[in-house]
């Protein structure tokens, strides 16, 4: 249900007009002016249909592949923690001025179940998680994919991806430890 709700929000965001998008996007100056809702809604809206489509597809993959790996409460906690962690990182870095897109959180939702499975000695998950880390570290060093930037019409905020994976790993590890104790 969580994934379904998120997917619906993301899909709906592709129908928003420029004015509505402007009212919901993560905008540094507007947040500083007290428009706090943007700290959350900025992660749910997208720059264009392609942007929403790629992230929507990512949500479907996570939902189908890993929905049962973690409890609903764990998913919710990890998603919420990653939203605010990404907000803090974007605010601290001073760029970008405007941010949209779910993929920072999506990276957390990818990383969490893989970390949880890897902690349970699942080799396949460990390899995939290593690949995910390689991807975000490469992005941090060399910048995001120019092709993706052209597709979505804005520059890829690689710091959001890195933060998402980091939060997801912490969340997945904690979930695995709690499961072991339980």
């Amino acid at each position: 249900m969580i994934f379904g709700s998120i997917f619906l929000f993301v899909a709906a965001s592709s129908l928003l007009g420029a004015g509505q998008l402007d009212a919901l996007a993560w905008q540094r100056a507007s947040i500083a002016d007290g428009q706090w809702w943007r700290l959350v809604t900025g992660h749910l809206v997208h720059s264009n249909g392609w942007h929403a489509a790629t992230n929507g597809a990512g949500i479907v993959v996570v939902a189908i592949g890993f929905a049962g790996t973690l409890s609903a409460r764990t998913w919710l906690v990890i998603a919420t923690a990653s939203v605010f962690a990404i907000d803090v990182v974007l605010a601290a870095r001073g760029w970008p001025d405007t941010y949209v897109g779910f993929s920072g959180v999506l990276h957390a939702l990818f990383a969490a179940p893989l970390m949880s499975l890897a902690a349970a000695r699942n080799t396949w998950a460990a390899v995939l998680l290593a690949g995910l880390w390689l991807k975000v570290v490469g992005e941090a060093m060399f910048g995001g994919s120019p092709g993706t930037a052209e597709l979505i019409g804005v520059q890829v905020a690689t710091a959001a991806h890195f933060t998402g994976v980091a939060v997801g790993c912490v969340g997945g590890l904690v979930a695995a430890k709690l499961q072991t104790r339980g």
Binding site: I64, G101, S103, A157
Partner: protein, 267 residues
Amino acid sequence: MLRFSIVITTAILLSGCTWLWTSPRQGTSSSLVEFLYPGGEEPPPQAGVPHLLLPVRAGIAFVPSRHHDATLSEARKRELLERAKAQFIDRDFISAIEVIPETYLRGSSGFAAIDQVARLYNLDAIALVSYDQVAISEDTKASILYWTIVGAYFIKGSQHDVQTLVDTAVFDIKTHRLLFRAPGSNTLKESSTLVNSPEELRKQRDNSFMLAMDDMTGNLATELDVFRERIKTEGVATVASRDGGGAMDVWLVAVAAGLLVWRRRRR
């Protein structure tokens, strides 16, 4: 004979009268190099490639002139800058152009003044307009008729030559590097009566400034396009969008989906 001599002498004196109403040579100027390097110091070697975040917030200002000149008031300078601003404000890579009063740059000089203004207005780049105008007033042959009181009012025996040069240099605020520049010029030659000489000269100088600014604006638009091309071909600056987004790469989603399908089939 004496009466004749007095008349001839008076006529000769009156025929050289334009200079009684206006100075034969007037000028006003401002120097970008003197403003940026007031102590005559050598410019430091330019390090680093400018990194421009689009859309850019730019400022435009006149370089403070050395002397006060009533020809171009602060209000008129602002009007001229607003005219130039109107030609560029619609570009999608420019988010704002702030017209900066010259008085804001008078407090100090050099890049310290520019940095202060940039912080105040939150600018990424600044266009500094320097100028040099020379106005020469001379009598024509017709000025012999100025010896008649009527001639001074109706005979256009005074000629005014006004030459105006303006130059706009655009700097990146962070690196203090010159990005590009463009000149503009204008020459006007007009005649006027003796009595109207000061007013006509003022109008001519103002008009010449406006036309030189228009010429500069056209050249600046051309140089801006050349600069954009040089960014791509020569890497004279790097550009990035001010906006960012979190997006899954298509290949990543495809790989993840493929692995998912493969894993499910294996089960």
